[in-house]
């Protein structure tokens, strides 16, 4: 199975080389066999005797990450869609994409996607799933941005990336939480212990994380906004990723975990509500679109909402309907996208306002579109698969009595009505799509290209898909035993048997369907009259605005925030730094009860030492007040010489010597460097600045004082010094202990101290000399 999954990506590696021959032969032909073979491979599993299969390949066993593929009914359904529609899309693209295009790029992205998507639906290991999941987002990003010189493409690519990847990260958190709770990374094993998950404190978190992942990917309200902009991708991509497969990854995920969450009121609530809202909003918005692909995009959103809602319902019939609709949607929506692409290709526009009356020019396309749109609308005709799943959806929406709790009950009552409303709009846009494009007035002057029918090979893919629509419509139970029941079983976690039939008698779903058709027809006919509603109800465009505002703000406010504090002012940096260090360290010291003023074991105080200390303190303070260069430098010198004297007093002659030399040289360097610099000016900072400076300095000084005294008073251990005095001569061979330490015990320090000086010397040399060379130029 691993070969089936990785075949496309392995092929993707050679695609750039194959694409060099594109002037001889369209790259698509060379690579078409790959998805086809994969499809055939998966078809071989279809059958009533299907049993789920697992194949394991280790990857990072120590982290419990493996490439373990689990082929059950659900994943088989998806695998077939991915490879089947993938093959058709490649075929279609051969005619859709000109050889002058960057075919290598296109097919590489597409095949990366194919592997990623197969990986998502087949992976049993959650982290492998996540890895594939992210790759679907990335390949989608690249495909949307395929025509990257178009501003809209870049916009759409980034938008989809941001939304789907954020969902991906959320999914990751959910999956990690699941592994923490269940102690396994295998989905099968997780599904085996739903109680552990449902009862853990992580449950709400897991649910929200996973839902976010699924909703963003499957364009559920309010994350649906990326999908219309994804239409900037070449149409084959829209047909493939953004209607048939990738957007269903979220559906797949929810279906996969239904076995765990199914029956949980919160799961029901969230999925049903968001699903149905998505359905209604999506279809409502689709009606107002003017771009063919935009209509289809919103249509996809609404259809995905419907499937999501059905998964939320969680009853056996609902799940079966969901699975069934996944298949059906792929067939009619895939074909419609391809038709839209053909129309675009042949007329040069997708603007429905410019189109019309194309039936005469493109009869074949029109026929295909007719089947596609009517199936999508759920028109009750026995050869349209869309109707069956739509009616099952109505049926399922009416059977939601299993849930307790006031609010949940209210939701259960409201859902059927919302389902009908959504379906009415679906009907409206479907009709609008078909009639607006193929019927009505032909507007020759508005079309860039004179329309004519597409070549047969380009029509082949939609023909195959529409055949699917009709075949399933005629024989709705054809795939039941071999495929759909297995899939539904996998979702429901129990046997689901369902006999699909056209006629059930006069039962509520039928009335609902009729309501949809009648009201829908009325709305279609009166569309011009009520269209103004859209001006009053702007609909979900506000979410787009929120997104745009958010992204703009992301940069603008980042810029504002960052440059508020990163304004290059050393003083501000220092103030912030010191304030944080003082506050946090002080607090930590305080709450850990570390302050210790119980003075113990200190040397006696003598007057002259106090005086020296006073001199040093005064000199230090004087550095602040003096306004004369030399005075400032000399006063610092006083502190330094004072320190040397303290070294003298406290038995550190070596230190005193070094300090003296260093201080003198430093003062000399100060004089040398600062003679040419301006004299000190009066400090001109505002009183507030000065106040802050004073508080910060005193605060930090106080912290140091408290820390030092506390540390000094908390001498827990003897120092290691005795060892040095005892062994300095014996082992170190010298009687100046400090020297022995420096050159022997801690010789390494000294070696690198010299290195620092070496570096400083070279750095100073570089500073001085580099300029000269520059000046000479």
């Amino acid at each position: 199975m691993i070969y089936a999954v990785f075949a496309p990506i392995l092929f993707a590696i050679v695609i750039p080389f194959l694409s060099r021959m594109k002037h001889k032969i369209h790259t698509g032909w060379l690579i078409l066999p790959v998805p086809l073979l994969v499809f055939i491979y998966f078809v071989s599993f279809v059958g009533s005797g299907f049993e789920s299969q697992v194949s394991n390949y280790s990857w990072i066993p120590s982290l419990d990450i493996s490439l373990s593929f689990h082929l059950d009914g659900l994943s088989l359904l998806f695998a077939l869609l991915i490879s089947g529609i993938g093959s058709l899309v490649v075929l279609y693209s051969i005619y859709y994409l000109d050889r002058e295009e960057r075919l290598g790029h296109f097919y590489t992205y597409l095949y990366i996607f194919m592997t990623a998507m197969l990986g998502v639906v087949l992976s049993d290991n959650v982290f492998a799933l996540y890895a594939f999941w992210e790759f679907t987002s990335l390949s989608s990003f690249l495909l949307i941005g395929y025509w990257h010189f178009k501003e809209r493409s870049r916009y759409g690519a980034i938008k989809s990336l941001l939304i789907t990847v954020s969902g991906g990260f959320s999914l990751l958190a959910g999956l990690i939480s699941l592994t923490i709770v269940t102690g396994t990374t295998s989905i099968r094993e997780m599904v085996g212990q739903p109680d552990v998950i449902l009862e853990s404190s992580f449950f709400p978190l897991i649910l929200i994380f996973l839902l976010l992942g699924a909703f963003t990917k499957s364009a559920q309200f309010p994350f649906h906004i990326w999908l219309p902009d994804a239409m900037e991708a070449p149409t084959p991509v829209s047909a493939y990723l953004h209607s048939a497969t990738m957007v269903k990854a979220g559906i797949y995920l929810m279906a996969r975990f239904s076995a765990i969450f199914g029956g949980e009121p919160s799961f029901f609530m969230l999925l049903s509500l968001f699903g149905i809202i998505t359905l209604v909003c999506g279809s409502y918005m689709a009606v107002r679109q003017t771009d063919l692909k935009a209509i289809l995009a919103y249509s996809t959103i609404s259809q995905l909402g419907m499937i999501m809602a059905m998964l939320g319902f969680g009853t056996d019939i609902a799940i079966f309907a969901a699975v069934f609709h996944i298949l059906n949607h792929a067939t009619f929506k895939g074909s419609l996208f391809m038709i839209a692409g053909i129309v675009d290709h042949e007329t040069g526009t997708r603007d429905i306002r410019k189109l019309g009356g194309l039936m005469t020019f493109m009869p074949m396309s029109a026929t295909l579109a007719l089947f596609g749109t009517f199936s999508m609308a759920g028109v009750p005709l026995p050869f349209l698969n869309g109707f069956y799943s739509k009616e099952m959806f109505f049926d399922a929406s009416l059977q939601l009595s299993g849930y307790a709790g006031t609010f949940v009950e209210i939701v259960a009552i409201v859902l059927p009505y919302l389902a009908v409303i959504g379906s009415i709009f679906t009907f409206v846009y479907s009709m609008y799509l078909f009639f607006g494009t193929f019927r009505g007035k032909y507007k020759e002057e508005q079309l860039p290209v004179k329309p004519h029918e597409a070549p047969f090979m380009m029509l082949l893919s939609p023909i195959i898909l529409v055949s699917g629509v009709i075949i399933i419509g005629l024989f709705p139970n054809l795939f039941n035993n071999g495929l759909l029941t297995h899939a539904a079983d996998a979702v429901f976690g129990d046997e689901v048997t369902k006999e699909i039939s056209f006629w059930h008698g006069f039962i509520p779903p039928l009335y609902m369907s009729l309501t949809v058709v009648i009201l829908g027809a009325i709305l279609v006919l009166t569309k011009t009259k009520w269209e103004r509603v859209y001006n009053i109800l702007p609909g979900n465009f506000s979410f787009n605005r929120i997104y745009d505002w958010g992204v703009n703000q992301l940069e603008a406010s980042s810029n504002r925030i960052t440059f508020t504090y990163m304004n290059g002012s050393l003083r501000l940096y220092m103030v912030l730094l010191l304030a944080s260090v003082t506050a946090i360290t002080g607090t930590a010291l305080f709450i850990s009860d570390g302050i210790n003023f119980e003075v113990s074991d200190v040397a006696p105080v003598t007057v002259h030492e106090v005086l020296i200390a006073i001199v040093m303190a005064l000199a230090a303070i004087a550095t602040i007040f003096v306004t004369n260069r030399l005075a400032a430098i000399l006063v610092v010198g006083v502190v330094g010489y004072g320190l040397a004297i303290l070294f003298v007093l406290y038995s550190a002659p070596d230190l005193a010597l070094t300090q003296l030399i260093v201080e003198t040289v430093t003062v000399a360097l100060f004089l040398l460097c600062f003679y040419h610099l301006p004299n000190l000016t009066k400090r001109t900072e505002s009183i507030a600045h000065r106040g802050v400076n004073i508080i910060i300095s005193i605060g930090f000084g106080a912290l140091m004082l408290v820390m030092s005294i506390s540390a000094y008073n908390s001498q827990f251990f003897d120092t290691i010094s005795d060892y040095f005095t005892e062994n300095s001569y014996k082992l170190g061979g010298g009687d100046n202990i400090v020297n022995v330490i420096l050159v022997d015990f801690r010789g390494l320090d000294t070696l690198f101290e010299v290195s620092v000086l070496f570096g400083a010397g070279l750095a100073i040399y570089t500073l001085i000399r580099f300029r000269k060379n520059k000046g000479a130029k």
């Binding site: 290059g568 002012s569 050393l570 003083r571 220092m574 105080v605 030492e609 106090v610 200390a613 303190a617 230090a620 303070i621 550095t623 602040i624 400032a632 430098i633 610092v636 502190v639 330094g640 320190l643 303290l646 070294f647 406290y650 038995s651 550190a652 002659p653 070596d654 230190l655 070094t658 260093v662 430093t666 460097c673 600062f674 040419h676 610099l677 400090r683 910060i696 300095s697 000084g701 140091m704 004082l705 030092s708 005294i709 540390a711 000094y712 120092t719 010094s721 040095f724 100046n736 202990i737 330490i741 420096l742 801690r746 320090d749 101290e753 620092v756 000086l757 400083a760 500073l767 001085i768």
Partner: protein
């Protein structure tokens, strides 16, 4: 005595920081020099003061001051010296190139 020296070192720290918060190079660098003085004084103080003779072995003397902090300070003094020297030259060069010794005028803008 240690307490007194701790206070002194803290004062040095505080004045050092006050200087670091100023605009002119000279004051800022003076701040760094004071800072190193403060640090070395702290280190010396923390090793206990006046606990004996200079740590140079003399026959008959057994009580010596803790030599380790002294060794550490010595290393640190030399290192600080190197750094300060570099800093001084850097400040000088920065001034000559930017024609300003005022840190406030040397913030730089985001467009550079």
């Amino acid at each position: 005595m240690e307490i007194l020296m701790a206070i002194l070192a803290s004062i040095l720290f505080a004045t050092a920081i006050y200087n670091l918060l100023q605009k002119q190079f000279l004051r800022i660098i003076i701040g760094t020099v004071l800072l190193s003085h403060a640090a070395h004084l702290f280190l010396l103080t923390m090793g206990k003061l006046k606990r004996g003779n200079p740590p140079v072995l003399v026959e008959g003397v057994t009580n010596y001051t803790d030599p380790l902090p002294q060794a550490l300070i010595l290393t640190s003094i030399v290192i600080s010296f190197g750094v300060t020297s570099f800093l001084l030259v850097l400040a000088y060069r920065t001034f000559t190139l930017n024609k300003s010794d005022n840190m406030d005028e040397l913030r730089g803008s985001s467009d550079e």
